[in-house]
Symmetry: C3
Subunit: 215 residues, 3 copies
């Protein structure tokens, strides 16, 4: 397995920096989400500020994705298969969409009280995007397959835990919450958050597939 | 980028006509959906007729997909990668499934009043499938990469707008609707409609990936 | 089409046995699910035992998936494309996740009464995973493309039926069930079950794509 990634062109100066930026942007979004769910419910001004920040970061993410696609159109030599660069770009975009979607639902559904499972899932999203960012930084180093593969395994683990927290939280809503509207509302927010970790798993799947193809 | 699509065989007489048919069928389904959500709630006969028409069109779509797969089995030379033809066929099938699923939920859930967001989403579905159809017509022209790529960008835009309308509509249901059953019912219909635009985005992703691979 | 699969190495002793094991494990999970939904609601001990068994089988499934990935890392020669082995492994893992998720929701949401649609969907899951298992057994035989393709068609049919049962069951919940909490609860369980058949369709898609690529 010594020649893994020998196929890569580690000198690439176009795509690797964009993927790194994209990873860092996802971490920034997740940090804002964690800040949001731990903010004072009475401080609506701060919440409005964080909602806006997450929306702004999502637009930055859209721009990075767009730049990746533009570079694909301009460059005939790519560090790995063109369709995998496209798949990775799309998968990262989906993660951003669901983090933004989670915050957006909290806002539009007027969710004031942030429950324990919401806080836990926000923590998992931050953990998962941090692993994604770590893996993306390592993409350019042809010796770091192990590091990327390990990050992918951890992302899968985090997704499993998020899945369990989601199902348990919904079960508890059914047991302790009497108001059906409240149940639906929280279920939808929790579901968007859980899907954000699913999308991190999709990124891990694309990364694993790239490692495997270039082995 | 002049030689983009040079890899294609523009003379193909099997797959391009089937993809065109599939696109036209999706537009016909969307037109019926728009007609449905704008029809008179009292005219149950007309609604029944449109439900039936959408179901019939979905069967026609299934037949087209099936023909694409049969041609794949019979032809050794294909205008682009065999697996991409399969992926494109499946993605188009999913769009048809969700348009039909949207109408089917309206029918089975006994949704009488068609709200503004439902009408808006039906309009977005028609816009998105029209872009899909346009892109599919252009597939055979090796000079029209720009047209296809632009259609893909518009599909992504439409999906983003549909997403926002969906989240906003559900938020409004929580605010203005007291009956939890009604909330769930409408949420499920809106969700199927929003997923139909997601599936158009999947088609755009496959198309972009085909463009990129053959660049 | 006589040389279909000629590209394959039918002598493979690593991957084919693991895929067979994975298929058999999915069938075992589905059989437990069928047993669960037909068990006596008063016999909580038996239900606990089946919940535990399904969770145990899911862990076994995780181990098989992990072994497939490890073999991918160790073997330079694979019976078909490395990325397709990865895709097939992931798709099978998803099926296990949703079967387990269905049972897990029944447990966590405290669903006591197993309704007719729940029983029907459990039956469809067993049918679909049986077809998946059959197709996986045949993967090693380079003459059995027809058998695999037919299994894929049947899986698609089963998924369509499951989809219809799901939409109809939710429609009936809206008509006959007054309690919104009960509606949501059952809808979530039915939805996880329906998604399990969707995931079988994803496996069929990967299999079809492998057949097509190696034609």
């Amino acid at each position: 397995m010594n020649n893994l990634f020998s196929y890569f062109t580690p000198k690439d100066k176009k795509f690797f920096p964009l993927f790194e930026k994209s990873g860092a942007n996802l971490v920034a979004m997740s940090q804002s989400l964690v800040e949001l769910v731990n903010s004072n419910p009475q401080d609506t001004e701060q919440r409005e500020r964080i909602y806006k920040k997450i929306a702004d970061l999502e637009h930055i993410g859209d721009d990075i994705t767009h730049q990746i696609y533009i570079e694909l159109g301009k460059n005939f030599i790519t560090p790995f298969d063109r369709e995998d660069i496209h798949a990775l770009g799309s998968a990262l975009d989906e993660v951003a969409d669901y983090i933004h979607g989670s915050a957006s639902r909290m806002n539009l559904y007027n969710v004031i009280e942030m429950t324990e499972p919401i806080k836990k899932l926000a923590g998992f999203i931050l953990q998962a995007t941090s692993e994604v960012a770590k893996a993306l930084v390592e993409l350019k180093n042809y010796k770091s397959i192990r590091i990327i593969a390990d990050a992918c395994i951890r992302i899968n683990n985090i997704e499993n835990q998020a899945d369990y927290i989601f199902d348990k939280a919904v079960g508890e809503l059914f047991t302790y919450e009497q108001d059906a509207k409240t149940i639906i509302k929280y279920k939808e927010v929790l579901s968007a958050m859980e899907t954000a970790t699913d999308m991190c798993e999709d990124v891990a799947n694309v990364l694993e597939s790239i490692l495997i193809k270039n082995a």
